[in-house]
């Protein structure tokens, strides 16, 4: 796909995010809009996956450790062909394959059930360790939230990832700076988050604009450093693409009403 096509896909996914959360009357648009380019880059360009064979043993694995960003994940999986896009209308509804948080037993293409913060990074670490052990050539990607890095489990997993020299593992940090109760700095300062991952033994790549597809792809395409896990720190904008949601704490876990939906969709027109 060309960059233009990928950018158009991002816009489409953003419209999906708005429609899914508005239809459901709940969900997490802010952190879904910030992570859109990362997920589109992975699923439409970088990862070795086949929507026809979602359980292919050699496929690359993806773990959405910030599991509340399901609107973005489902938008990407739906547009990539893992399930019919009509399913998105049932997001968060009874009996839907599109649960509020990712469910690996219900939704094709979801490799790990997540939603309890911190656990996805550790699951991905176990996957990468299991892949090394079994000789599986896959690469494992996990998207982490920045507020999520306040969980101790992230650092337990990071220590293990470095200890076991998991160069088949990439953490991607969606560093939008905001969480439910305020900014990271107000809630619990993360300090030098890139430096922390480096100190834990990661090969760290900084992406100045994580909502710029070219920059995200450049980072993803850098070769891994032998014997080291990679952490790509993407500086992103929470609520990206919808003017009244950008950098607003209040849009973490709130759905747009119909009026707000119309305005957002207008801003996200192709």
């Amino acid at each position: 796909m060309t960059i233009q096509q990928l950018e158009a896909t991002c816009k489409q996914v953003r419209r999906d995010i708005i429609n899914m959360t508005a239809d459901a009357g709940s969900g997490h648009p802010g952190g879904s809009l910030s992570v859109t380019e990362i997920l589109v880059a992975l699923y439409f360009q970088k990862m070795n996956i086949n929507p026809e064979k979602p359980k292919d043993p050699d496929r690359d694995r993806f773990v959405l450790s910030k599991g509340h960003a399901t609107p973005a994940l489902y938008g990407v999986l739906g547009r990539r062909g893992f399930f019919p896009v009509e399913e998105m209308k049932h997001f968060r509804q009874l009996h839907s394959i599109l649960q509020g948080h990712p469910d690996m037993k219900k939704c094709p293409g979801v490799d790990a059930s997540t939603g309890s913060l911190g656990q996805g990074a550790s699951i991905a670490t176990g996957m990468a360790l299991g892949a090394k052990h079994t000789g599986n050539p896959c690469h494992v990607y996990a998207v982490l939230g920045d507020g999520e890095c306040q969980e101790g489990l992230i650092w337990e997993a990071s220590m293990a990832a470095a200890h076991y020299c998991l160069d088949n593992l990439t953490f991607i940090l969606d560093n939008n700076g905001l969480q439910i109760d305020g900014s990271n700095c107000q809630v619990m300062s993360l300090g030098d988050i890139a430096g922390k991952f480096a100190a834990f033994g990661f090969h760290v790549i900084n992406v100045a604009d994580g909502n710029d597809l070219t920059q995200v792809l450049d980072a993803l395409n850098q070769p891994a450093e032998a014997g080291k896990p990679t952490c790509i720190v993407c500086h992103t904008v929470k609520g990206k693409g919808v003017s009244f949601m950008e950098n607003q704490v209040g849009w973490h876990g709130k759905a747009p009403n119909n009026e707000q939906r119309e305005q957002a969709l207008k801003e996200l027109e192709a």
């Binding site: 043993p57 694995r61 469910d103 690996m104 037993k105 490799d111 790990a112 059930s113 939603g115 309890s116 656990q119 550790s122 699951i123 991905a124 670490t125 176990g126 996957m127 990468a128 360790l129 299991g130 892949a131 052990h133 079994t134 599986n136 101790g152 489990l153 337990e156 997993a157 220590m159 293990a160 200890h163 076991y164």
Partner: protein, 307 residues
């Protein structure tokens, strides 16, 4: 009967046996391999043993990730840490019903000297409530070995509750997950029990026999799924039903049996176990006595509360 062996020792040996025929078996430890007795597996299959450091939560979630790659991980640590990594067990493993096993040792009061901070009296309650979790507490080394082999055959999470204290090894018995085993017939009363308390209850039954009370002893090694049919069947034959456990009387076997029998029979029902309090340091048998769980104390309680 032969020399006493702890179920944790049998756990380590059983894993080695299993490892010989099933290369998917991997074992994870949190710096306790020499206590959970998985050190034997580590020695036999160094490339299939994964140290996780003193980080139980990460051990569980990593094991979960490994299970999605087709491996069968056995997580090993102390039962008291079941609570520490509980939400990882709940959400990462049980919610998607992934194929991860938990061999948690040093359960119950018979941990002894390490004291109340290390004596898990709540782990069964925690595990029993998780949908899809199988909970097994073997009574001796033979049963522990069979339980390990059975756990590997189950497609889903299994919690194995294992003991530190060496205990009597009984004659070989049939073992099927979810099927209780009548160890001693009796016509006056029945006791449902598991783990080390099976031996203690058999001893109590001998004491009671001298007092004219004929006690049936049922080994309920599988706490979940509970053998409800056997519970009903045995309860229908007697006037008095007892449960005995090295666990809190809240949320353990007593409550599980009570749920089956509630409104269902004309018998008396008495739960014997740890009465909503923490353990403490002491020699294992001294601690059991302090908490009223020695054979003579159990026999006395049964005589006092029979209908």
């Amino acid at each position: 009967m032969s020399d006493k062996i702890a179920t944790r020792v049998a756990y380590g040996e059983a894993l080695v046996e299993l490892g010989k025929t099933n290369e998917k078996i991997v074992v994870l430890d949190a710096d306790l391999a020499s206590a959970t007795m998985t050190g034997t597996f580590k020695k036999a299959f160094p490339d299939r043993h994964f140290e996780c450091g003193i980080a139980e939560a990460n051990m569980v979630t990593m094991a979960n990730g490994m299970s999605t790659m087709g491996l069968i991980p056995f997580c090993s640590t102390f039962a008291v840490f079941a609570g520490r990594c509980y939400e990882q067990i709940r959400n990462s493993v049980c919610y998607p019903h992934n194929n991860v096993k938990f061999g948690f040792t040093h359960a119950g009061l018979t941990v002894g000297e390490d004291g109340g901070s290390h004596q898990a009296i709540e782990d069964i309650a925690l595990m029993r409530v998780l949908p899809g979790m199988t909970v097994i507490a073997p009574c001796d080394a033979n049963e522990a070995k069979k339980a390990v082999a059975a756990a590997a055959e189950i497609d889903g999470p299994v919690y194995l509750r294992l003991a530190r204290l060496p205990s009597t090894v009984f004659e070989d018995m049939p073992f099927t997950v979810g099927k209780g085993h009548v160890m001693r017939e009796g016509k006056d009363a029945v006791v449902f029990t598991f783990g080390i308390m099976v031996e203690v209850c058999l001893e109590a039954a001998n004491l009671l026999a001298a007092q004219g009370m004929d006690l049936m002893v049922v080994n309920m090694h599988t706490l979940k799924p509970l053998d409800e049919e056997l519970v009903k069947e045995c309860a229908a034959k007697v006037k008095n039903v007892f449960t005995v456990e090295e666990h809190s009387v809240i949320g353990g076997l007593g409550d599980a049996v009570a749920s089956v029998l509630a409104g269902n029979g004309a018998c008396t029902f008495t739960k014997i176990g740890v009465e909503d309090r923490f353990g403490q340091s002491g020699k294992p048998m001294d601690v059991l006595r302090e908490y009223g769980l020695c054979a003579d104390q159990i026999a006395e309680k049964m005589l006092a509360s029979r209908g």
